[in-house]
Structure formats: C-alpha cells, structure tokens
Symmetry: C2
Subunit: 339 residues, 2 copies
Amino acid sequence: MVIDCHGHYTTAPKQLQSFRDEQIAALKDPKAAAPKVLASITDDQLRESVQPQLKFQNDRGTDVTIFSPRASAMAHHIGDATTSLDWTRHCNDLIHRVCTLFPENFVGVCQLPQTPSAPLANCIEELERCVNELGFIGCNLNPDPSGGHWTAPPLTERFWYPFYEKMVELDVPAMVHVSASCNSNFHATGAHYLNADTTAFMQFLQADLFKDFPRLRMIIPHGGGAVPYHWGRYRGLAQDMKRPLLTDLIRDNVFFDTCVYHQPGVDLLLKVVPAENVLFGSEMVGAVRGVDPQTGSYYDDTKRYVDAAAIDEKARQGVLEGNARKVYPRINGLLKNAD
Amino acid sequence: MVIDCHGHYTTAPKQLQSFRDEQIAALKDPKAAAPKVLASITDDQLRESVQPQLKFQNDRGTDVTIFSPRASAMAHHIGDATTSLDWTRHCNDLIHRVCTLFPENFVGVCQLPQTPSAPLANCIEELERCVNELGFIGCNLNPDPSGGHWTAPPLTERFWYPFYEKMVELDVPAMVHVSASCNSNFHATGAHYLNADTTAFMQFLQADLFKDFPRLRMIIPHGGGAVPYHWGRYRGLAQDMKRPLLTDLIRDNVFFDTCVYHQPGVDLLLKVVPAENVLFGSEMVGAVRGVDPQTGSYYDDTKRYVDAAAIDEKARQGVLEGNARKVYPRINGLLKNAD
C-alpha cells in the first residue's frame, strides 16, 4: 500500500468557493450578514469532484491520500475568528463527506480555525470535533495566520502549548502549512510555503519543544523547504549553538514529505535525511500541474522519484507506507486492507 | 586564480561595534547626540583583524575575496536614514582600507544605507561614492530593510528602478542579501537569509525585470536558498504561469553562489543550475564556523565541494573564477595577476 501524506481538496465543487465569496463580500459590506449555510452539494457532485485525484492515484500506483482542505484557501488572515470558524467547519465537513464516500482512497486531515489576533481560538475544539466525530487523523497548523506578515509567536513558544497538549492526547500529528500570502513579496507556492517550512525547522532546532512534548509529531511539507539542501548548514548551526545532532533532534518528532518535483531533489532528500523521517507526499492536485518536458511525466508524480531513489527496499517501503502509519497512527484503524 | 564572491568583514576591530553601540544608545536617549566619528583604527589593527580570512584563503587555496561589511550588522531597521547612512559609510570605509592594505586578497562590495521608510534614500549616492571613489565592484541589496517584516515592495517593482539604472550605468551587480531579523520567527542565518534568497528568485520569475534591465545582474547567495533543491517546482511554476524557461530567465541576470555547506548540496546545485550561473562563494568567516565531523573540514570550506563536484574542468574554472569576472567586470581592472 502507498500512502500519500499530502493532498488538498483543490477540486471542491463551486458551492464552496461561492460560500467563501459571500463571506468575503459580507466583510466588506457592513449592512450584509455573513452567510452561515453552505449551498447543497450532492454526493454525486462530490464523487465527480475527486475524479482527478482518483485517476492520479490509479495512474501513479498510489492507494490512499491523507486529504485536507485546500491550503491556499484557508486564508486565516481574512475576517475574524467567526469568519475563520465558519469557513473551516464547512471545509472540514466536505473532507469528511469525501472520506466517507471513498474510505479506501481518502483519510481526513483538518484545517484549523486560526485567526491572526488569536491563532488558537477555537482550534482545540475543532481538532477534537474532527478527530473524535469525523475520524480525522491529523491537522494542518499554520505558523503564520497573518498570511505573510509573521505576527504569531514562533511554534516553539508556550503560546501554542495548549494545542500541542490536545494533539498529544489525541495522538495526531500536524503538518506545518501556511496558506495564501497577502504580502506582495511572497508568492504563495513559490516562496511563502517554502519559507515557512524552512522557518519552522529552524524554530524547532533552536528550542526544546520536543523535550516538553516527546510524542509531538510535526510534518514539514514541500520536502522541508530549504532544509535538506542546506543540511550541512543546519548541522553546522546546531553544532555552533551546542544543540543536539539533527538526526537526534528530528528522530521521533520532525518529518519531511517528498513534495520535491524533480529527481535530483528527492535524491538529495533521501541521501541526507534519515529515510525514517521521510513520508511520501505529492501535493496533488496542487501547486504544479504540468508535465515536465524533461521526463514526460507530471512534475508532481513524486512516486517516480521515490521509486528511482538509491535507497534500499525497506527504507523505500517506510517512505511509501510505514512511516505514515507511525506518524499518523489513527490511519491504521481506518484502512480496510491494513497490513 | 580562485575568486570567492561572498565574504563579510565579520572580524572588524571592536571600535566599529563600539560606534554602533553608541549610535543605538543615542537612539534610546533623547538627550544624547548620535556619534559621527569612528574611533581611530590603525592599519596594524586592520591587518591583524583579517588574519583569519588570509589564513583560510591560504589553507583552502583561494586567492581573492569579494569583501563586504558584515551582513547581519547592516540592520537597516535600526534608527532612521541618518543612522543608516552614518553606519554604512563607516562600514564601507573600513572595507576600503582593508582592500587598500591587501589589494591582492580583497576587493570591495558596499553596504547600502537603506532604511525601512525609504529604502532607496541615499543609496544611489553611496553606490556612486563606493564605486567611483573607493574602487568597489558591487553592492549588497537588502530586499527587506525592515528586518523580517517585509514591508518594502518586491524587487521587481518600479520603486527600485532608479537604483537599478545606477547599477547598470556603473556596471556593478548586487548580491541580494538581507540582514539581521528583528522578527522572532526568523533566525537570521538559519531562516531569514534563506527565505530572502527564495523570495527574491520567485519575484524575478514572476516579473519582466530583466526585460527592462537586460544588463542588470543579481547574485542570490546561500546557493539560491531553496531554489535549486526545488528546481523542478520552479520549472513547473514557470511553465504553468507561461513564463520563460528558467535557464533563459536567469542566463545573463541571475547567479547563485556556492555557500552550501555539504557535498550533496553543492552537487545538486551544479547538477541542476547551469554552471555559467554559479559563482564560487564561501561566506567565510561567517554563518557556520565549525568543523564538520563527517569530513574533518570546515563546513564553509566550499572549495572542497566544488573541487569534488562532477562537472568538467571548464565549468569548474568558470565557477571558481571566470563567472565572477563576468558578473563583477570591474574586478578585472583591480586584480594584479588578472589573466
């Protein structure tokens, strides 16, 4: 079985975006009331909407996608805590419906109702709802709900601890994932995402978060941003700062996905980072949608790169399945053909 | 000859930091006057201060360092335009004195007197002074004078064009280099620097800056941040956005240095980026100062990685010398043993 740890519902029916458009319009018009109800979406419309994902799973030989709402659309910087909560619940509910329709193909991970003025308001409650009531197995945690202004405290500060306590209690990990950028300096998928990955890793390196939470697990997406490419820099920084060896620092707590869209990048990742800390991910249908003329395959068909990487079969099996089962243990109760 | 395009004067005599401390103290005390004069530094003190750099040049088999003021100390976010100008001129003047004392070992690149409220105030004048009067061959341009709040316009906006016109007129390139971070999310050398590199590249990808300035040359340091590791992502983004091929986009205008502190990273860089667009750099004495226990050599002894990379000798020669001569053409008039 091949588990793709990084898929977003980028193909949701248009009713979802219509709800969001109405929400945003209401924010601009003091006389308008914010919408509360999502227009009806039929099961058939949901089935139709995920055909691209199902086709890619089939074509690429992957089985199940750990599936979450569209990351760029979380846009926690828009509106207030209520805006974020209403939007988040609808997004998560749709993920739940897709996972219920296709229990062998999708397992849910939730968006959180973060908001810049109080990034944790409502997040614990929504995480509990999603895990306990909807059967989700993790969450996407945004280290920058301001959308490119970076006004929240670093992820290692005690501010976040109540949320981490709940994550540990529920035994679910978080993927550290920013959303759209409202800072014109940062293109979302071409800069903000990768910067956030790099930033989060360095925060983890600097502090003792995982001493306080030995069972807290964080996935840094997009291959860890700049980190594996600069693995020597980080080893050296850790050494100069008298911090632990990187392999010790990340062992049970920090994981990278394989959303790196060319063979040399995935080769580097698997050369420098222990394979136990790498989870197969493709981000499909996502940031890059074209076919690479150099290979004739989709850029985001990352399974090809993992298949071709010079690692032993046990390590490859871990990357493709076993590591995800360890990092997201709740997946084991959900997959029909679990081994 | 081996030219290291990336060295900062991190070992300046203590009088320089004392001046800065007084400047900062005066900012906090409305009754105090900002200092204007730097305490006397003798030539012997300057000679002594660069012994570490000279020893590393000798030990590592490099010849000349393109030398600029300490990047993290530029701190354009401190004070106002006058603070920045006074500090910048002293820093640049010291670089000039070092280059005059050791004309075979150091060639100058200037800090700019940027400031968040008006990042370009005084910059054109200081660039002219440094190039025309002090014999400098380039500058370090900070895309984020706010120090981690990213309040300046993207580098591709017309706001920056008057400065670019002067760069083209003087035929000098800029290294895109941020300074210290005053945003607690961003560790300077472990996050902010790499994020800025990644951000700048994506800005260049999105806009037609180099159509407007075909002779403008930008060096993105630290191996291009996350970019080479995500070269497939960027090729795919450019394709989806109907932008030029990356190799065409960067050909005459965007260059990466080799400040990547392990062999796999430099191997990747030279595998995916055309060697013509890579300049040898080490950032010594800089961000990472230790010895890598895996190799027994300094992390930042990047010449070893370039020497071991699987490229042909012509390409290697370009990386180590020829490309720097093209990107910084004014170096050719300064080096005694120019070939």
